[in-house]
């Protein structure tokens, strides 16, 4: 194992690898048309908004997601309203400080669409939107990363739950919009701006978690190789 890192002589805490698992819970709330969705959305448990934006990555899904959140997918496949699907699809959840602000943005888009529409978009009974929330169990793997060089070695062995927790889930924890790796690398000093920049450019919403794991592994490996050559 590489020696622990220091920043200006001060030891830096190692990166504690956590893991998580998610199970979906039906809320019993569903909507068959857009107005009904707006009304339910305004009252639904915030955990449900989390699930429909982020949680989906840890549940079963087909590997070619066309939309990056469940609301967009329903607008297209249930309501057949591509305009709404595109507008919801453009929402970047990590740009909102909390789930309440994200909820308001979703509702804003609905209001705008309802104003434009001559009728309320509706779906067939078997294509209703079911509000789901989740329960997440987070636990410590008791594995620590002491040096940035270890990231490339450790990353391929991480569970998808760990990838989700540190890269996706982290974006709604403090500091909002940032994954845990960037937060840790920032604590190491200024020498990692390039790597932090590369991580910031990863769009996690259209890849499966295994693809994401592979992509991040490549970033860490290439970075190590470059630093070695220098």
């Amino acid at each position: 194992m590489a020696k622990s890192q220091e920043n200006n002589g001060k030891p830096i805490s190692p990166f504690a690898v956590k893991d998580c698992a998610l199970v979906a819970i039906a809320t019993g709330k569903k909507a068959q048309n857009l107005r009904e969705l707006r009304d339910k959305l305004s009252q639904i448990h915030a955990g449900s908004i989390y699930y429909h934006f982020w949680g989906g990555m840890l549940r079963l899904q087909f590997d070619e997601p066309e939309y990056n959140n469940d609301f967009s997918a329903w607008a297209q496949n249930g309501l057949h309203d591509s305009c709404l699907a595109e507008r919801w699809g453009a929402i970047v959840p990590s740009e909102y400080d909390d789930l309440e602000k994200l909820r308001q943005e979703l509702i804003e888009v609905i209001e705008e669409r309802l104003d434009e529409s001559e009728f309320v978009p509706w779906s067939k009974t078997d294509k209703q939107f079911h509000f789901i929330r989740s329960q997440i169990v987070v636990y410590d793997t008791h594995h620590e990363i002491h040096h940035f060089r270890e990231l490339a070695e450790v990353f391929p062995t991480l569970s998808l739950g760990s990838v989700f927790y540190h890269f996706i889930d982290a974006q709604r924890r403090y500091p909002v919009g940032q994954d845990d790796f960037r937060t840790w690398l920032s604590e190491l000093g200024n020498g990692y701006d390039d790597l932090i920049g590369q991580l910031a450019e990863v769009d996690p919403y259209f890849a499966s978690l295994s693809e994401l794991r592979l992509r991040l592994t490549n970033i860490f490996t290439n970075y190590n190789n470059k630093r070695t050559k220098k």
């Binding site: 199970v23 039906a26 079963l60 087909f62 079911h130 789901i132 329960q135 169990v137 569970s159 739950g161």
Partner: protein, 412 residues
């Protein structure tokens, strides 16, 4: 001795198994009991047959109890089953009396064990009344519903609901099946076991041997439906689809079913299926014993296309099995089939025999599409429908319930 979890690691990756061990370590010392109504036949028994040993291997103290019933009881629970899937059928007073009597008798035998358990999983309606008969229970009780209850026949649901409301949680395969119940309703789709006899890779020689065994022609395409002989599985619709498609392509159809001890209607219905098949030598209506896993595995691998033309389906494990063998599936546009068959990607969803026939013809004509969909189907199962995912969600649920059912639980 190598554990079977090591064998899974070769398929899923070691990190998946490590995660299971870590989660299970937080559940050491608890007692878990599963109760269902049959030891073999049907998807529920198959899942439990694989899930229970794995939970034990993870160090969890788990046992499996099977309800002891009689013919009248199974007639009643089959009526429940049909009604919960939407048939307008009622159980007679005599049947309901038997339902309660059988549950009471079983409660007598199982009470101590059930009342002492930390977590009890009750599968489907057959043993659902046990909870009311265990007043000193101390653990969490979970009702696991494997049936498509999206459009129940309300009088039967109304009868069963009072037995369910006191459970701590229920589990459904799809969000669309969730009901108005005053407790947490988890969504956990079932799974298949990739290293079981039914799903493990087979040598080519064994797959080829199946042609001789059932007098099939290796030179012509074969389509296959594996399902209990049950009206909801629509084997007669499959025969109609075959007859329509055969006009355009040489074809043979194999229907495979078996009996389950808790399904009294199967033996009668198979005669209707045989009558629909008539004397066509290319329709093979097979009745196999419940342990014919190896034969079914070989048939699925020998088939060109898998059908599951159900009109109601809780999940459809035979769909998963077919996809795992790299075959596209033509499935009924219903229940859990819709979760697995991604239309135009892993197969096709159809609503009529005509629709099924059209898709059979399409796939036999476009063999490249057939192969491409098969590859996608297998990958989809690998990532989503293997036993390891199912087990992880059960562990998450148990940890969640034991730690107070909050949205986010941090342990260890």
């Amino acid at each position: 001795m190598k554990s079977s979890l090591d064998a899974y690691a070769k398929i899923t990756g070691k990190e998946v198994i490590d995660q299971l061990y870590q989660m299970a370590s937080t559940l050491r010392g608890i007692k878990v009991v599963h109760v269902n109504s049959t030891k073999e036949g049907g998807g529920v028994a198959e899942i439990l047959n694989r899930l229970i040993p794995l939970k034990k291997e993870l160090g969890i103290d788990v046992s499996w109890e099977v309800l002891q019933g009689n013919d009248e009881f199974y007639k009643c629970t089959k009526t429940f089953h049909n009604a919960l899937q939407g048939n307008r059928v009622n159980a007679s007073e005599a049947m309901l009396k038997t339902y309660l009597e059988v549950n009471a008798e079983n409660a007598e035998n199982l009470r101590t064990k059930l009342e002492e358990a930390d977590v009890v999983f009750i599968h489907d309606p057959q043993p659902a009344a046990l909870l009311k008969m265990c007043p000193n229970r101390r653990g969490k009780w979970i009702w696991r519903c494997h049936i498509d209850v999206s459009r129940t026949y309300r009088p039967v649901w109304k009868y069963l609901r009072p037995f369910l409301v006191d459970y701590d949680a229920s589990i459904f395969s799809l969000a669309a099946f969730a009901q108005a119940l005053p407790h947490l309703q988890y969504i956990i789709p079932p799974s298949i076991d990739p290293i079981s006899k039914k799903n493990i890779d087979l040598p080519e020689k064994e797959i080829k041997a199946i042609y001789d065994q059932f007098n099939l022609d290796p030179g012509r395409p074969m389509i296959l439906q594996v399902s209990r002989y049950d009206r909801f599985k629509d084997p007669i619709g499959v025969i109609e689809a075959y007859k329509l498609a055969r006009k355009f392509s040489p074809l043979q159809l194999v229907l495979v079913g078996g009996g389950a001890t808790d399904d009294p209607e199967g033996a009668l219905f198979i005669e209707e299926v045989r009558a629909a098949a008539g004397d066509d030598p290319d329709i093979h209506v097979l009745l196999l014993p419940p342990d014919a896993h190896h034969t079914i595995n070989a048939l699925q691998r020998a088939a060109d296309i898998i059908l599951q033309k159900s009109t109601k389906e809780g999940f459809g494990l035979t769909v998963t099995e077919g996809m795992w063998k790299g075959k596209p599936v033509i499935g009924g546009h219903t229940g859990g089939i819709r979760l697995q068959v991604v239309d135009h990607h892993t197969g096709f969803l159809v609503s009529t025999p005509e629709g099924a026939a059209l898709r059979i013809r399409y796939l036999l004509y476009h063999r490249d599409k057939l192969d491409e969909m098969g590859i996608k189907a297998k990958q989809f199962v690998l990532e989503n429908f293997l036993l390891t995912r199912h087990l992880r969600e059960y562990l998450t649920l148990m940890i969640g319930l034991i730690h107070g059912a909050g949205e986010r639980i941090e342990i260890g």
